[in-house]
């Protein structure tokens, strides 16, 4: 049935048809009767990666198939969301090996984006924790693959944006925890120099990221707050928390009921917000023990927060630059601050080493920020792309809605190899999205 569909950024929005499946034969029937399709999970990628004329929703394909509580191995169908998985594994003393900043994504989406988390410098991206998975490829065969078997299919599927086929089953390893709490440390940084020094100083923490204020100039250029954390031990909990260390109280969620008018976001309001966010930490350093939810998923507490950017939507711009190209980071931040186009909560993180085919992370600095869609924005982002290219960086496909194809081909060193593997498994271009057409991967 025709309907309007957009992902989390509300840009672009298209009219298309979406179907769902709860049994494997249903998906086989669907793809054999269509000439093109793209798998779609919970629609939390920001741009057009899971948009196409025909999309197939995995959300009803959401069964847990096995959970080895002794060894922490979880196996499920691809449409289950991380929040459902957490509800099952946390009370048993296990946690996701890697989680992005929202738990409202499906496991299939986590693989297709090869998501990273605050622990990338320690634990790598999600693909490193997959034991094996099933993918229905272009010849409609369901193939089991892993880093050891059918390795080319495996590596082109991790971070491959659904272009090798439909991920149907994933088996992956979990992380042992003793409590559902995080021992958190927040440290204020006066400027970018200070912030980068702090990242280095606290790199032994499992989890780290920083919020950064892009609108500051002069001495406080790039000021921010570094947030690091470790899974708390029972001894670190309060007496109350220790009674049920693996249980969290249900919290009420707020919701943004409608799109805010676009004028609510301007340099002034963003400045004021960032100023308050920085000043709310009155001490230089804050240490506390908090539930895992606000630590990993602060924005999930406000459902539909994306509506805050208005009806026209927004794009999230996330790039990574190699570790030695710190001046590139300065150049980009300067450009954003000069243009006065900064967003609430820009997020900075240092990635560790990454060995994969087409996944986004590489050792270096990654910065993510939101820009509401308005006149002139795309020209501005094209200019940022040039700086990213110049410093040997690249953009995250899961956030992308507008990158020019040459930027992709120049910035991903394995682009051709990726395209060749797609040809092997998806030769008839059965799996294609607006993004893959735009990037000339399936044209």
């Amino acid at each position: 049935m025709e309907k309007r569909l957009a992902n989390w950024g509300n840009y672009p929005a298209i009219s298309c048809d979406e179907t769902s499946f709860s049994q494997e034969d249903q998906i086989q029937d669907f793809i054999s009767s269509h000439s093109s399709v793209i798998a779609r999970g919970n629609g939390r990628c920001y741009g057009d990666a899971s948009l196409a004329n025909h999309s197939v929703s995995t959300l009803k394909y959401d069964k847990v198939l096995a959970f080895d509580i002794e060894n922490g191995i979880f196996e499920c169908q691809s449409g289950i969301t991380l929040d459902q998985i957490l509800d099952i594994i946390v009370p048993q003393g296990w946690f996701l090996p890697v989680t992005p900043g929202t738990k409202f994504i499906t496991i299939g989406g986590a693989v297709a984006s090869d998501v990273h988390g605050k622990n990338h410098h320690v634990d790598g991206s999600f693909s490193g924790h997959i034991i094996d998975m099933d993918v229905i490829t272009g010849n409609q065969e369901s193939i089991t693959c892993s880093a050891g078997i059918e390795a080319d299919l495996f590596w082109a599927t991790c971070g491959g944006m659904g272009l090798t086929g439909i991920i149907t089953r994933v088996k992956f390893g979990l992380k042992k925890i003793d409590t559902a709490y995080i021992r958190q440390k927040q440290i204020k940084a006066k400027n970018l120099e200070d912030l980068i020094r702090l990242f280095e100083e606290y790199k032994d923490y499992t989890y780290s990221m920083a919020w950064i204020d892009c609108l500051q100039k002069g001495d406080s250029f790039g000021r921010g707050i570094l947030i690091v954390g470790e899974h708390a031990t029972p001894q670190e909990l309060s007496e109350q928390q220790r009674k049920a260390p693996l249980q969290l109280a249900q919290k009420r969620k707020l919701s943004m009921p409608f799109n805010l008018p676009s004028f609510t976001l301007n340099t002034l309001t963003v400045k004021a917000f960032n100023w308050l966010y920085y000043l709310k930490n009155t001490k230089r350093e804050i240490n506390n023990v908090i539930p895992y939810e606000p630590f990993f998923y602060p924005l999930d507490a406000i459902l539909h927060w994306n509506r805050g950017y208005g009806k026209a939507g927004f794009v999230q711009y996330q790039f990574v630059l190699p570790l030695e190209k710190k001046d590139g980071l300065v150049a980009i931040l300067k450009k954003i601050s000069d243009a006065g186009l900064g967003s609430f909560l820009a997020v900075l993180k240092v990635f560790g080493k990454q060995d994969s085919l087409i996944s986004f992370p590489m050792e270096g600095y990654t910065l993510a920020l939101d820009f509401p869609v308005r006149k002139g924005l795309f020209e501005f982002l094209d200019q940022l792309d040039e700086i990213v290219l110049q410093y040997g960086g690249r953009l995250y496909l899961s956030k992308d809605a507008r990158m020019k194809q040459e930027v992709f081909w120049q910035s991903y060193p394995n682009a051709q190899k990726f395209a060749d593997i797609i040809k092997t498994y998806n030769g008839k271009k059965l799996f294609r999205s607006i993004q893959s057409d735009r990037l000339l991967l399936t044209q």
């Binding site: 049935m1 179907t19 769902s20 499946f21 709860s22 049994q23 034969d25 249903q26 009803k60 959401d62 069964k63 847990v64 198939l65 096995a66 959970f67 169908q77 459902q84 099952i88």
Partner: protein, 243 residues
């Protein structure tokens, strides 16, 4: 732990109902035509809710098999929920008897056949709850789906008669009249978002109503009033409408 039997466990509605009852610590018996297809659901319920589960082959239109199916259950369920249904194609059914018969037999004859067996057992034990998922489509025949609607109308009347009879034996019968629900069955229909429920909402309503021994529920609740209005339109006007 109490046990619930779900007849027609392959549908989206059935998945939601099974999860709702399992979440409230019921052991679950799943029955579907293709047993292999519900194996993942069985695992899912066991792992998510730590309840006992089992699966059985059951074909709503294979009437003769129904007594043997029910008698072979190792544990007799405390609650039996008939979820199976078949929307089919009204247009095809108008000229193709195979399609029409399939609609009638799945939604009406098959339901009567299996619930007759269950009702006898519950009546003799003087305990048990039967839940029938009918449809608001059974409240008034419309040109767009009167084959389905008439079968559901029959089913609704059957449930109300059954309730009347079994009340005197200590057995409860709940009729459920869902309005629009987002499922694979309705995926190709254009449904008004304000009036359309998610399967989980329907499942919650059913659980609560079964607990509270309600007789008839509409879900979402406002469908009671929508249907009241639709039923009150005089026939000379109704026949001219394109519904």
């Amino acid at each position: 732990m109490p046990t619930v039997l779900i007849l027609g466990a392959g549908s989206d509605m059935a998945v939601a109902i099974a999860r709702e009852f399992a979440g409230n610590k019921y052991d679950i018996q799943l029955a579907a035509r293709n047993v292999a297809s519900i194996a993942p659901l069985e695992q899912d319920l066991r792992i998510r809710y730590q309840v006992q589960t089992s699966s059985y082959a059951f074909d709503a239109t294979d009437f003769n098999s129904h007594p043997a199916f029910y008698n072979s259950l190792p544990v007799k369920p405390d609650i039996t929920i008939a979820v199976f249904g078949y929307l089919g194609s009204q247009e095809q059914g108008q000229s193709d008897w195979t399609e029409a018969a399939r609609i009638l037999h799945t939604n009406y004859t098959g339901a009567v056949s299996i619930l007759n067996v269950v009702a006898e057992d519950y009546a003799s034990r003087g305990a048990g709850t039967i839940v029938g998922i009918s449809s608001v489509a059974g409240e008034r025949g419309r040109q767009s789906n009167y084959l389905y609607g008439s079968a559901k109308a029959g089913f609704t009347a059957y449930l109300s008669g059954l309730r009347n009879r079994l009340f005197h034996k200590g057995v409860h019968v709940l009729s459920v009249q869902p309005g629009f629900v987002y499922t694979r069955m309705t995926e190709n229909l254009k449904l008004p978002p304000m009036l359309t429920a998610q399967p989980q909402d329907v499942a919650k309503d059913i659980y609560k109503a079964a607990k509270a021994k309600k007789n008839t529920i509409y879900t979402k609740w406002f469908w009671r009033y929508i249907m009241l209005i639709i039923k009150s339109i005089p026939e000379f006007m109704f026949k001219k409408l394109k519904l």
